[in-house]
Symmetry: C2
């Protein structure tokens, strides 16, 4: 049933208790496939520790047996970083669900790796606070996974990504040592930034077991606006004006005419004319005091196409957001897309988008949307893959992917904005990281995971 | 004159040109002492490279010769981290003064390590932008030094410390390899956070040669307020209210009655009654739109002592800040103080301050002020040291320092908030970092500086 050595299984059972070591394929199957079904592997065993001490015991046992571990949170990743593709031991962190009382004076909280984002949000909300990162899979995704992948989302333009929320971590490093620095002091220059290093390391350096997280005031007032522009450069310039004039701007999302028309027809929505301009922004500001006036003053400075829409009621807001959020579903209706999550310097977004058509094979469609405030674009190519793709389609999809990622790098962009490298993008890492950088990464990996057991197929390419 | 081997000197001269290798004690003296005169050493040589390639050549030459390097920026540090105490080669980065045009779309700029903070500020100002970190030695301190020490200052409560401004670095690691990632993408999950790791590493892992820096909108409106409170816990609670209600709050400074009275008498100032309360806050908000109303609404919610002062003219503002900024000078008039830069969890500031008198020898005085928004306190003990302290006074000062730092750790604080560990606090690092953390630091150091030549006496204690 499993190729994990019997002696190791015995150690794992001793460490976490037999009920928390799963080897029955019926039970391990759910841990061996990601939620999209794109990444499918096989867990040698699934281990579900309930405390940091148990995580330590598991890591030490696996290190000694030289058996690889794939850490897993809510299993909502998009790049195969949490799926055991080669019979690894899955270390599921969902039982580390401890959530301390909110430290109201510091506006911080310590959360176990297994706490879901939605739980954290409800917890903060009870103290009139909120969390600076929000993601669609909030009911499943966990704090540990969000730290490990440096999760992003729509509010990065205001609060930064996950790394900006992490004030400290507790983690078990690859050598089994436990590091913990959860005081959450905003100013603390006593050594290297282990928390920042572990954030975004995709489980390759250590297993994050808890995090000290910054919370932010829950805004009482919110305003959403939709603005149309004649072309992408106007939308980019508008983001600059808005960022300088609207202190509480927390979302600046780009949609393009083709995408909006697709969403409208597939989902039966009726977008306002502003959103049917060649390029459009959906903006949101949220503040303790009403940001409507500030937003209106900024909007008045912009050269827009069609009448700007300023939504202040929840229903108006929902209708604008439905257009943005409907993109994923509308695209999927056209068949499985080739999906890329990239970021591009703001000054080069227009040039990048204009060049994309050259990356497409005949008959392919292109839908682009994204978090323009961060230069983060989600690029979707339709008409290349079918639901049961043959080898030729897969090869064509890979060629499109490689071609687009090269275009990204050509404008100084990043091949992974917020999803990470995982196992899916390892082969592309060299496109945007030099041999010297990758060598430094390897040296750091060797320093903290000397046995090389932590998520060995993720992030770093295998040595040639 | 120098104990740097002749062969190495020849290599250094070949690398950077003879005029930029100094060995004459008259010339090296200024690089061998810090500006306060507390740390005095001797440079084996001072090397002043003009390009990153030259830095690389210097590091490779020193690594090969196994000669230690102390990197130095503006030499404004406070913990002896940039002073050659043991005849090291000083690598002065001030000639790396290249400052790229501001990337207005991204609101970022790439600055060489030797650019001073004031130069950066003027450069940003010309584009209606500013830099999120400000420090008193702005005319001397350099970007490279600020990155290396993760500099803080009064605006951390809004913009975060230096690490939050650094979007990427170029650096020469201890093995001579050059890593560079200066695209400045706000979302970029392609590997480990080398920039964050190097920030605050005090030159022990790599030499930062350039940084990509976030700029922020230059606020058009500014309001400063002074509020008095009956006791420290009221001031702490007020900071919470202010942070939740005033989005653009960028400074929340604490002063205490003893300190304000000292400043008033020594410098001949007349502080408003609010600042003569047992505890007082000097607050500032700055925003594209006038924050006065938001500030007034928040202040109205607080239980203050005496009438709050809300200053809107530059002159009124200057008079309030003079009280805060006069603390350093007023304290120095009492003789050389024992100065500590610590941070404490906000919820425990009052308890920490109350306990400090037990740390003092008879006859000593205590003046505390600081950045309350970050829990960062500057603790000054007077009456212990004289200008030419004898051994007994030095021992007494060290005992006071150790006692206060233990009190800091006792409330979960940090022994170095914004100044770093340098060489001065190495012996205290174990107070707030566990053996496992220090071991992880050592492993990272070994990974990036395998020959151990970069600032070997700073940050990490020598192995026993």
């Amino acid at each position: 049933v499993t190729d994990v050595p019997a002696a190791l299984l015995a150690s794992l059972r001793a460490a976490v208790g037999s009920p928390h070591v799963l080897t029955d394929p019926e039970l391990t199957e759910g841990f061996s496939t990601d939620w999209t079904g794109r990444f499918h592997g096989r867990a040698g065993a699934v281990v579900r520790p309930g405390t940091t001490d148990e995580v330590e015991a598991v890591v030490r046992a696996c290190a000694e047996a030289a058996v690889a571990i794939v850490p897993q949170g809510g299993n909502t990743g998009l790049v195969g970083g949490g799926v055991p593709l080669h019979g690894e031991v899955v270390l599921s962190l969902t039982r580390l669900a401890n959530l301390d009382p909110v430290d109201v004076a510091a506006t911080q909280v310590t959360a176990g790796a297994g706490v879901t984002l939605a739980e954290l949000q409800r917890h903060a909300d009870r103290c009139d606070l909120t969390f600076g990162v929000d993601l669609a899979p909030r009911d499943s995704c966990t704090i540990g996974g969000m730290v490990a992948t440096n999760a992003g989302g729509t509010n990065v333009v205001r609060y930064g990504p996950m790394r900006a929320q992490v004030m400290g971590v507790e983690a078990v490093l690859g050598d089994g040592s436990v590091v913990s620095h959860l005081h959450g002091l905003p100013k603390d220059n006593t050594g290297y930034d282990l928390a920042g290093l572990l954030t975004g390391s995709e489980g390759t350096l250590g297993i994050v077991t808890a995090a000290r997280l910054r919370l932010v005031p829950r805004p009482a007032h919110r305003v959403t606006a939709a603005l149309g522009f004649a072309a992408i450069p106007d939308a980019v310039a508008a983001v600059g004006v808005l960022r300088s004039m609207v202190t509480s701007l927390h979302a600046a999302e780009l949609v393009l005419k083709d995408g909006v028309m697709l969403v409208a027809s597939v989902l039966g929505l009726e977008p306002p004319p502003a959103l049917l301009a060649p390029a459009a922004l959906i903006l949101e500001a949220a503040s303790p005091t009403d940001p409507t006036e500030e937003m209106a003053a900024a909007v008045a400075r912009l050269s827009t196409v069609g009448d700007p829409v300023v939504a202040t009621t929840p229903d108006q807001r929902r209708r604008l957001w439905a257009v943005r959020e409907g993109h994923g579903e509308a695209i999927n209706r056209l068949g499985p897309p080739v999906k890329l999550d990239v970021s591009v310097p703001l000054g080069r977004v227009a040039e990048f988008v204009a060049g994309l058509s050259a990356c497409l094979p005949p008959g392919a469609g292109l839908v682009i949307f994204g978090h323009l405030g961060d230069g983060n674009l989600h690029v979707n190519v339709t008409g290349v893959l079918t639901h049961e793709p043959n080898a030729e389609e897969v090869a064509r999809a890979e060629a499109v992917e490689a071609s687009i990622l090269e275009a990204v790098v050509g404008v100084g962009g990043s091949i992974s904005a917020e999803h990470g490298i995982g196992t899916a993008k390892v082969r592309y890492l060299h496109l945007c990281r030099t041999p010297a950088e990758i060598a430094a990464f390897r040296n750091i990996k060797q320093a903290l995971d000397p046995a090389g057991i932590l998520n060995p197929h993720a992030l770093l390419p295998a040595l040639a």
